[in-house]
Each structure stands twice: as structure tokens, then as C-alpha cells.
């Protein structure tokens, strides 16, 4: 089992991150009521971990008693849709991308009514049950609109917990009906605290880990705990010893393969600006995409790499181009076009 999964904190008590936020969530869960929640923050910040901890605080161990259920639903008389969701004794958990495009509104309408109207099988301290909707910012506008009055009407039997990366794509009427909980990505202190705890459990020495090693891991992690744990595991996995692994300041933290490819692309763009170079780079883009690196991550990482290598006067145009082509990727169809266009644009900026 990867360390990331092995050490996912199970209850609020175990949460090593952001003590202040943890305290506030705990307080909410222990009070008599709970408002609808909109939990938002960057990926890897620990939103899901916190939501499951809230469920645990509400319903005790039975909240863990979940199973994956597959259901079919008649979207129209002739069209059946199959989707999966997580079902617990007191909650549902669903993810819009598992519902299939254009179905999210109908399915959510049905499920929520079902949950709101059926009786609880097991007793709990709360009369309401919870529907967790992951990636709520990817819900269609129609689906969000359909939640509006539902959130008010079934308020005695139902609470929604919406989880999103950002509130920018959540419609105002939903924001008006939820308490928004911001989950910041962990800072240096929290990440190193977790790394040290894991190091201890995994019999790595010395603990606390050497400063420079921690700094290297943190720099690569982009304040993402998941990535930090993966880096530590990767760094340690190449070292000898099974009883006790010894690390030092000079222990190397290998960057992910795909990052190295993007560094190469940046170097190629800086070195030669030509049509044949563009063609060579294109092959690399295809490789990255084939390895499921999202085009958005490609553009962002590439921008970072480029900015460390060009003169100040070129930087603003490159930033604007990156934003422009990321936008196009989002609304367009073929991301390779926009990655190439970005590359060509940067070459153009560099030539002048």
C-alpha cells in the first residue's frame, strides 16, 4: 500500500493539518445542527479527508460502513443510464463525472428525493442524513439550479456537503444556501510534521528528517501533501536497508518523469525557434498526453520552466499567452492545437 493511502488520517483527531480549521470543523460537527457545507480548496489540501472526518464525528464508526453501489436509472422511456455511487447507512456520496454527461441533473433530483424521503435504517444522533457531492464545481448549471429549493425543502432530513476546488463555478443561489469552508493547502510546517510522523512509523532515521531534504521535498510538492508523501517514498525506495533506512541532506529526490520532459521542452523552445523544432516538440506533447498528463498541468509547468529561463521583458507576453491558451483548451476541443499555438507564440516572442 502506498504511504499516501496508508496514512490518510481517519478521524478529525488524527488530522495533522491546519489545527485551527480542524477545531472549527469539530465544533460544527459537535454542535446540534449542521448547515449545508461548501468545502473548497486546492487539490491535495485534504478536503475529502476532512469531510470523512466530519461524517465520522456525526455518525461514529458506522460512517465507514460504506459500499459501492451500481444503479440504473431511466433518463427517458427509452434511455437507461448506469452509474455508481457510494452508499453508507447515513449518507450518499457521488461524483458528477461518474454520472455521465447531461444526466447529473435528473440523477441528483431523484437520489436526493429518495434519500430525503426514505427512513433511516440505523439509528443515529441526527435526524438528517448527508449527501456528499464531490467535484461540485463540475456540476452542470442545471443540476446546480435543481438543488436550490431542494436544499430548503428537505432541510429537516438532509444536509448537503459540496466539495469543490473553487467556488468560482458555483452559482450564487447555492453559495447563498451553504456555509463555505475554505481548506488551504498545507504549509511547510504541516507538511514536515506529517513527513516526520510517517518517517518515524517507517523506521527511517534520523527523525526529524534533515532540513535540506525536507526543503527539497516541499519545493517539489507545490504544497500538496500527496505529492510530498510520494516524493519521500520515491526518495527512500532507492536507498539500501530494510530494518532501518538512513537518509541525509544529500539524499536525492527524483522529479517525476513527466516533469523532466517538460523541462526538456522548455529548453528546446529557448534554444531554437523554428518549424522543425515545433514539430519535434509536438511529439513530446503527444507523449505527455498519452501518459495522461492533463494539458492544463503541461501549460502551467511549462510556463514555470520558461519563466526561469527568459529575460524579464519577455515574461509578461509569455504569461498572457499561457493564460490565453489555457482558456482555449478549456473551451475548445483539441488541446494539442492550443499547446502548439502556445509554443509557437512563445517562439515568436523570443525571436523579437
Amino acid at each position: 500500500m502506498l504511504w499516501v493511502d496508508k496514512y490518510a488520517p481517519k478521524t478529525l483527531k488524527d488530522l495533522d493539518l491546519n489545527d485551527n480549521l480542524t477545531d472549527r470543523l469539530k465544533s460544527l460537527a459537535y454542535s446540534e445542527d449542521l448547515p449545508h457545507l461548501l468545502v473548497y480548496g486546492p487539490s491535495g489540501a485534504g478536503k475529502k479527508t476532512r469531510v470523512s472526518a466530519v461524517l465520522h464525528a456525526l455518525y461514529g464508526n458506522s460512517a465507514r460502513n460504506v459500499k459501492l453501489e451500481s444503479r440504473t436509472f431511466a433518463a427517458t422511456a427509452s434511455r437507461k443510464v448506469e452509474f455508481t455511487l457510494i452508499v453508507g447507512p447515513h449518507h450518499f456520496e457521488l461524483t458528477p463525472s461518474d454520472l455521465g454527461p447531461n444526466n447529473d441533473r435528473i440523477i441528483i433530483q431523484e437520489l436526493i428525493k429518495e434519500l430525503a424521503q426514505s427512513n433511516q435504517v440505523t439509528k443515529s444522533a441526527h435526524r438528517f442524513r448527508v449527501v456528499v457531492i464531490n467535484e461540485a464545481d463540475t456540476l452542470s448549471r442545471d443540476a446546480q439550479a435543481a438543488l436550490r429549493r431542494t436544499m430548503e425543502k428537505y432541510t429537516t432530513s438532509l444536509r448537503l456537503v459540496l466539495v469543490a476546488q473553487s467556488t468560482s463555478n458555483i452559482i450564487e443561489p447555492i453559495k447563498s444556501r451553504t456555509l463555505q469552508i475554505r481548506v488551504p493547502a498545507p504549509d511547510y510546517e504541516s507538511i514536515t510534521r506529517v513527513l516526520n510522523r510517517v518517517a518515524q512509523e517507517e523506521r527511517i532515521s534520523p527523525v526529524p528528517l534533515p532540513e535540506e531534504l525536507l526543503a527539497k521535498i516541499f519545493a517539489q510538492s507545490g504544497r500538496n501533501l500527496r505529492r510530498a508523501l510520494l516524493s519521500l517514498e520515491a526518495a527512500v525506495s532507492v536507498l539500501p536497508g530494510d530494518q532501518q533506512i538512513v537518509v541525509s541532506n544529500s539524499t536525492t529526490v527524483p522529479p517525476a518523469d513527466w516533469r523532466e520532459v517538460i523541462t526538456e521542452i522548455a529548453q528546446m523552445i529557448i534554444k531554437v525557434q523554428s518549424a522543425s523544432q515545433l514539430l519535434a516538440i509536438r511529439g513530446k506533447y503527444y507523449d505527455l498526453i498519452a501518459h495522461c498528463i492533463p494539458p492544463r498541468i503541461i501549460i502551467k509547468t511549462l510556463l514555470t520552466e520558461l519563466l526561469t529561463r527568459v529575460s524579464s521583458s519577455k515574461k509578461p507576453s509569455i504569461v498572457t499567452a499561457a493564460a490565453l491558451y489555457d482558456h482555449r483548451i478549456q473551451i475548445g476541443n483539441k488541446s494539442i492545437f492550443h499547446l502548439e499555438a502556445f509554443t509557437a507564440k512563445v517562439m515568436n516572442v523570443l525571436e523579437h
Binding site: S27, T156, T167, L179, R223, A323, L324, H327
Partner: protein, 344 residues
């Protein structure tokens, strides 16, 4: 029902027209129609949490009383299926129904006018087709059925429908009415607040009373839960500190920091600041809206620069709505802003 587990927004939903705060003119007109026991078709529109749903429900209750309301009022909202078929079948069927008789008792206590009311809440999410099918029904059965459409976005209602309705615009609540209502709830719940707490809540809620009430209750729950959890807090007094975090407002220091960064074009520094803000979880639209307020009020930025910046803000808002990456978009915003300011 266990009163403790009803959220305050519902507990304090107005059940009479008199309890609806602000919305003076609208309430006035409706009160008159209550006296005349007659109603036109109506369209309520306005931003979230300003009392639209509450007002129509309260009005119906006062017209028919709770018992008769069951047979005289049909409430449909966006969570109900309301495609064209539903309009043609269920809505039409209800519209055609003979008006049920009122008991002598109801008649004594309520006006009980001889018509039914169909509330189409959140009508802006009905399809154009479905709205089109409404037209006829509104006309044919207007003797015995009145419609009340409720929505946030009035432009999504088709003209032929709006032209058949008396329109009532609900406005964001003014500070005084909102404060009075909020303070009433506070004292009714036996809650204490530090100075400035209610003002801050109202400022953050921006005219949305539901939001303000949710904030207030959440703050109170934090205190209560924290006390129950054995922490050293006063469970009955809400502090400024606990409210600040609840409102989700980006601290002014962060916004001011961004503004300062646009005084020179230093892409690397701007990038670090943007990364930090995004990692801290602040949402780009919230930053954008507060940044906008700050720019508008800043007297050091000249007219020409402001003009160009407003074009920029419009474009940035569009990008965010389209789902462009928040970090890149904010970075672009600040870098371009810096470029504009360097020109003037």
C-alpha cells in the same frame, strides 16, 4: 419536531407578509391585493436570499390559511421535473381543476378567494418550450388559476410570459432592514455578539439575508460546539475573530498586497504571490470582486488606466466563468494590470 435541528433560515422564514423585511413597495402592493382578495399573474425576480419564495408562500398562507392551501396551491420548483410534457399534463390539469370549496371556518378567518395559485419557483431553469406551453394555460384558465413565477434571472423568462405578469423586483436588502431582522433573530436565540459582528456579517452577505443568517448561526454553532468539545470559549458570545473566517472574505491585506504588486512589472514576485493565494484556497472570483472594489476606490489610479483595467476585468471574469485555470488567470490579471499602470 425537534426545534433544535431546524436551521435558523427556515425557523425565521416569514410566515406573514408583515414579517418580510424591506421590499417596501412590493409588500405594500401585495397587502392591498390581500384586502381585495384578488391577484394578477405575478413574476417575482431578484438576487438570492431577498425574500421571494418566502413572500409568495406567506401570501398564500394569508389568502387561504394552512388547510385550504393544500388543495389550492401547487408549488413546483427546479428540483421537480418541469419539461414541456409536465406543463402540458400536470400543470394544465391542476389549472383546469374546479376550485375546491372553503369550509365556513376558513372563510371566517381567511379571504379564501375563488381561485388556485400555481407557484413556479426557480422558473428561470424551465426550458423555453415549457415556458411557451405555459402561455396558453395562463390565458385559458386565468379565471380560476393564478400563476406566480419566481426567479433569479429575469432575462431567462420569455417575453410572452413576462408580458402576462405583474412584475415585482426584489432588491438586495438595505443595511437597516437587514440589521433589524438579524438583530431580532440574535436576541430571540439568546445570543450575544461583539461590537461590529453584525455589521461585518451584513457587509460580507452583501444584501443576501439568508447568507447573513447562515453566517450568524454558523458562528454560534462554532462557539457552542467548541464549548461542548471542552475548549476554552464563551459559548454565548460570537467574536469578530470567529466571524471573519466564516464569511470567506479575502483579507484586505492580501488584496492590498496584490494592488501594490501592480506598481511595477515583476512577474516572478507576482507569480509567487498568486501561487500562495491559490494554495491558501481563496477563490479567484472572490479575489477578482474585491480587487475590483479596491481599484475603483483607489484615487491614485488615473481615469485612463482605470478604463483599460475595467476592460481587463471584464475579460478576466469571462475567462473564469469559462473555467480557465484560476492561477494562470489571476497571474495574467495582475501582470496586465501592472503593464497598464506602467503606461500612465
Amino acid at each position: 419536531m425537534d426545534a433544535r435541528q431546524i436551521p435558523w433560515v427556515e425557523k425565521y422564514r416569514p410566515s406573514k407578509l408583515d414579517e418580510v423585511a424591506a421590499q417596501g413597495n412590493t409588500v405594500e402592493v401585495l397587502r392591498k391585493s390581500l384586502k381585495l382578495a384578488n391577484l394578477p399573474h405575478m413574476l417575482f425576480y431578484g438576487p438570492p436570499g431577498t425574500g421571494k419564495t418566502s413572500t409568495i408562500l406567506a401570501l398564500c398562507k394569508e389568502l387561504f390559511g394552512p388547510k385550504l392551501m393544500k388543495s389550492r396551491v401547487l408549488e413546483l420548483n427546479a428540483s421537480d421535473e418541469r419539461g414541456i410534457n409536465v406543463v402540458r399534463k400536470s400543470i394544465k390539469t391542476f389549472a383546469q381543476l374546479t376550485v375546491s370549496a372553503a369550509t365556513p371556518e376558513d372563510k371566517q378567518n381567511y379571504p379564501c378567494p375563488p381561485f388556485k395559485v400555481i407557484i413556479l419557483d426557480e422558473a428561470d431553469s424551465m426550458t423555453q418550450d415549457a415556458q411557451g406551453a405555459l402561455r396558453r394555460i395562463m390565458e385559458n384558465y386565468s379565471e380560476i388559476t393564478r400563476f406566480c413565477l419566481v426567479c433569479n434571472y429575469v432575462t431567462r423568462i420569455i417575453d410572452p410570459v413576462t408580458s402576462r405578469c405583474s412584475k415585482f423586483r426584489f432588491t438586495s436588502l438595505d443595511r437597516n432592514s437587514a440589521l433589524a431582522r438579524l438583530d431580532y433573530i440574535r436576541s430571540n436565540e439568546g445570543l450575544m455578539c461583539e461590537d461590529g459582528v453584525l455589521d461585518l456579517l451584513l457587509h460580507a452577505a452583501n444584501g443576501d439575508l439568508r447568507k447573513a443568517i447562515t453566517y450568524l448561526q454558523s458562528a454560534s454553532m462554532f462557539h457552542q460546539g467548541a464549548a461542548e468539545n471542552g475548549m476554552e470559549v464563551d459559548s454565548t458570545t460570537v467574536t469578530m475573530e470567529s466571524v471573519q473566517e466564516i464569511t470567506g472574505l479575502v483579507p484586505e491585506s492580501v488584496i492590498e498586497g496584490f494592488l501594490q504588486l501592480t506598481e511595477s512589472i515583476d512577474v516572478d514576485t507576482i507569480k509567487r504571490a498568486v501561487e500562495d493565494a491559490v494554495n491558501d484556497g481563496w477563490s479567484a472570483t472572490q479575489i477578482l470582486s474585491q480587487f475590483h472594489d479596491t481599484i475603483i476606490q483607489n484615487s491614485l489610479i488615473g481615469t485612463n488606466a482605470k478604463t483599460e483595467i475595467s476592460l481587463l476585468l471584464s475579460r478576466i471574469d469571462r475567462c473564469l466563468t469559462d473555467g480557465a485555470d484560476e492561477e494562470l488567470t489571476l497571474l495574467d490579471l495582475l501582470v496586465q494590470c501592472a503593464e497598464i499602470r506602467s503606461k500612465y
